[in-house]
Symmetry: C2
Subunit: 264 residues, 2 copies
């Protein structure tokens, strides 16, 4: 059992979940997923990040033995103190998985007939990004693509907010929008000033739904010469007073609507 | 200028935002709203919580002078150190308002023709509750009602997540569901196991949309003898893999759909 807080195992996990973890994750190609929901999805899914090592407390091992018995990766026993030190949460479940960041290349992604994609342009909030990935998974989207200068999808808060959806839907990071603007797709972008309501989108082919930064919206798309012709701004009709919705809420409403428009 | 961290002003604010602040808020009838968005709504709205005192740093006073000039309440100058101590956020804006909790009594609330309500049953997560209030405001709902054992709406994280919507839409707290089940309304409850998809709800009268606890769902409604006949379970069609949506996302999709069903 790993009991020392000075163990290199502890140091490695702490480095991967620290506020500067992005560099560490990108260099090592590893990230941390915590808790039974992620581990269950990881073990039952044939896609998504591979597990490299699992650190488990004795009580977690007992509680989740049915799930953990399926693990093909290295499983190491840790003390409760070590679990607390390795955890990013207030109430750790004693289950920490070191996972491999998938090597998803946007060149290999091509829209099939009537497939649906999310593009996040400089989205910053980890909870928003994770919740959007979870909703994209629920509504049967093909992939989530993020722009340069977006939040790192493999940071602990994003991973937690996806509640295991990272094992169902692929994520492509740091993809400039103009690399996909030549796709044979309908491009829509959520914009509170748009004229077209969401329900008026006609879906006769694949669609990419674009969402901007929480505070600045789609400002960074304005410079794209091609974007004006290719992207249709759409709005969510809001009969009430609030000026805007939470970004993950707005994106999920768009996904709900797109998933439920009968395609012709 | 208030500069001492031992000032009773500091003590009062800290007590109202502490993790045990619920008791303090309930006894004093006061809560804390932070930041320019809440203050702007509070000053421009004729409804919602009244401002009692505002604590403002010099830099905030300068930055937001146009908004703050409209304040009718007591405005006290504070140092940056005091602002940090009074704040619940990592990057305080130097603007802290002591507000009066409205004395909303459910007896005075009666559904008008085709009005819409949210009922939160034992919802625990502050971010979810605040985001749901914000969406209810955006979609023109009449009020948000919470059950006993729900998160305190006037806790700092809920107030922050509403982004000022507390000044647009009234909230009624600790209302047992059976107190409103005799309303002349359609009652729907989100339930992943329901047969009726959201889009099949017919709206010929007022509606109350009920949402359960994040983990346990609507378990606590099962005991209500009247609930079975009165409440229609509905589901959000999800063609993908994720088992569930984030609660505030799911509730907002329901509100979007309810707001956009043409009433007959």
């Amino acid at each position: 059992m790993i009991e020392s807080l000075n163990s290199p195992h502890v140091g490695r996990v702490k480095a991967l979940i620290s506020s500067r973890g992005s560099k560490e994750r990108s260099e090592s190609g590893l990230f941390i997923a915590e808790g039974i929901q992620c581990v269950r999805e990881a073990l039952s899914s044939s896609t998504g990040p591979q597990l490299q090592t699992m650190y488990v407390t004795n009580s977690a091992l007992e509680k989740y033995s049915e799930v953990l018995d399926q693990a093909q990766c290295e499983v190491l026993s840790i003390s409760d103190d070590v679990a607390r030190t390795m955890s990013d949460t207030v109430t750790p479940q004693g289950l920490i998985a070191v996972c491999e960041i998938p090597n998803n290349s946007i060149e290999s992604l091509k829209p099939a007939t009537k497939s649906k994609f999310i593009y996040l342009s400089e989205v910053q909030d980890p909870g928003n990004a994770g919740t959007i990935i979870r909703s994209a998974d629920a509504f049967g989207f093909e992939a989530v693509i993020t722009s340069p200068n977006s939040v790192d999808i493999y940071s602990p808060k994003v991973v937690r907010s996806t509640v295991g959806s990272l094992w169902h839907i692929p994520v492509y990071q740091e993809v400039p929008l103009d690399e996909i603007l030549n796709w044979d797709c309908t491009f829509v972008a959520l914009d509170t000033a748009a004229e077209t309501p969401l329900s008026k989108i006609a879906l006769d082919r694949s669609v990419v739904a674009i969402f901007g930064n929480e505070a600045r919206g789609l400002h960074n798309l304005k410079g794209l010469s091609a974007s004006k012709d290719r992207i249709t701004p759409v709005r969510i009709p809001m009969p009430g007073n609030a000026e805007s919705l939470n970004l993950s809420v707005a994106a999920s409403i768009v996904m709900y609507q797109l998933a439920n428009i009968p395609t012709s």
